[in-house]
Symmetry: C2
Subunit: 263 residues, 2 copies
């Protein structure tokens, strides 16, 4: 199988929906045509994705804003049945139980991209990594800007990559708080997905999600409400510190009691 | 006049030759068609450039590798007669006696780009600036990466932009050494262009330029030889510290005496 990857005019991108919104923006800027397949409510892999054709497939895994994770075996099946390049975006993977690096090693049409902005807490540095088959990396080198990242970022990134222990400890702390957050949300009667990321997606009855977002904002607590199809009954809540998480849970509980929306 | 700027397939770029080689590379990557107009030996503006048609014109001013400078009045005439966008690349402008900022202010089809890599001595930071009409800047914002430069670079760039005195003193020092360098090269009989940049272009007889470059390299002195049309009898010599410049001049003199090439 030869991976193609062309996203200019006439190129075709495929990805599930809802997912990280920048894929759509970037494809539109490039003039690519786009096919999306809706995730089911539980964010299992959409069956239609297995038969989709295209030049590039984007798979955010763990997915944003759902926090859901597709096991590497399923990603492999997907990639083996896809004619183009599968870009597995592992920005949040340190918060999951598995990863796709082995796929990038074994398959000739899978690349894995990672970020230092999440588990490494270096969002301000704008640095990332790509792992993939030598042939694809060589192709990317041909068109990448001939100027590299700046030297300060390279020095910080190199130090961060070596500091595996800090990243593991940081991820473990966030996962512990995440468990507690999910339990509390479910105890409040809110349908909350399991999460493999540093945020959780909780659904609220009726139109309460939008209202809850506004209420929390009035308390200087910022969660994400998406005015978008399949998401407009949900909040994406980032796992903060323990005290931030408690403050958010307290305010959300107060909101739900106020509207009688507690399940 | 409405400035167009489209460098994808079917777009057309125009620039003089020889100039900064990345314009060609970037246009080729974008699939743009390219028209170049040869500079004359003294690097005055090529007359044919005034009647060239295209979407974007690149004008490196001061030009690399010649160090030559086109006065703002001539750039204005060129821009007024050009249907597309004129990108004036002022990477080296702190070493010149004038600049094109006023053109970017007054004309609707001129943008000026600058770098912190030369006169600010921040090459490792990869930071630059663009000045231009609001409408063009708004258009660029639409397609620029939604992630900004990293925070370390922004902080350093902001500090550098305020430190006007340091930049002026640095440029003055380089200009003084440049004068001395040009005088010495001419005294050695080498045809040397006036320079408005932090390097000078000196021509050597016959095929001596390439050989001189190799000789200097063997002494750990690195000057630039371009194996390219209109440049293969010349060396681009960066203005170093006074002692670096003296070391280069001493070695070049030794080379010329050795080959009997002294004019």
């Amino acid at each position: 199988m030869i991976a193609r990857a062309f996203l200019g005019e006439g190129g075709r991108a495929v990805f599930p929906y809802p997912t990280y919104s920048l894929y759509l923006t970037v494809c539109e800027i490039q003039g690519a045509s786009i096919e999306t397949c809706d995730y089911q409510r539980d964010f299992r892999l959409p069956e239609r994705l297995s038969s989709a054709r295209g030049d590039v497939m984007f798979l955010c895994n763990p997915n944003s804003p759902s926090g859901s994770f597709i096991p590497p075996g399923e990603v492999e099946n997907l990639a083996r049945g896809f004619d183009g390049l599968v870009v597995v975006d592992e920005a949040y993977v340190e918060f999951a139980d598995a990863d796709g690096l082995d796929l990038a090693r074994r398959l000739d049409n899978v690349v894995v991209i990672r970020s230092f902005s999440k588990s490494h807490s270096l969002a301000g540095l704008r640095i990332g990594l790509l792992f993939g088959p030598e042939r694809i990396v060589a192709g990317l080198r041909k068109v990448k800007d001939s100027y590299n990242l700046d030297r300060l970022t390279l020095a910080a990134g190199e130090a961060a990559v070596r500091d595996v222990e800090w990243v593991r400890a940081n991820a473990a702390k966030i996962r512990a708080t995440r468990s507690r957050l999910i339990s509390r949300l479910r105890a409040m009667g809110l349908e909350t997905l399991d999460s493999s990321a540093n945020f959780v997606l909780a659904r609220l009855p009726g139109d309460l999600a939008r209202k809850a977002c506004g209420f929390l904002k009035s308390r200087n607590i910022f969660v994400r409400y998406f005015d978008a199809r399949l998401l407009d009954d949900a909040l994406r809540i980032t796992v903060g510190t323990d005290s931030e998480t408690d403050a958010m849970l307290g305010a959300l509980e107060e909101f739900l009691e106020g509207v009688g929306g507690r399940g």
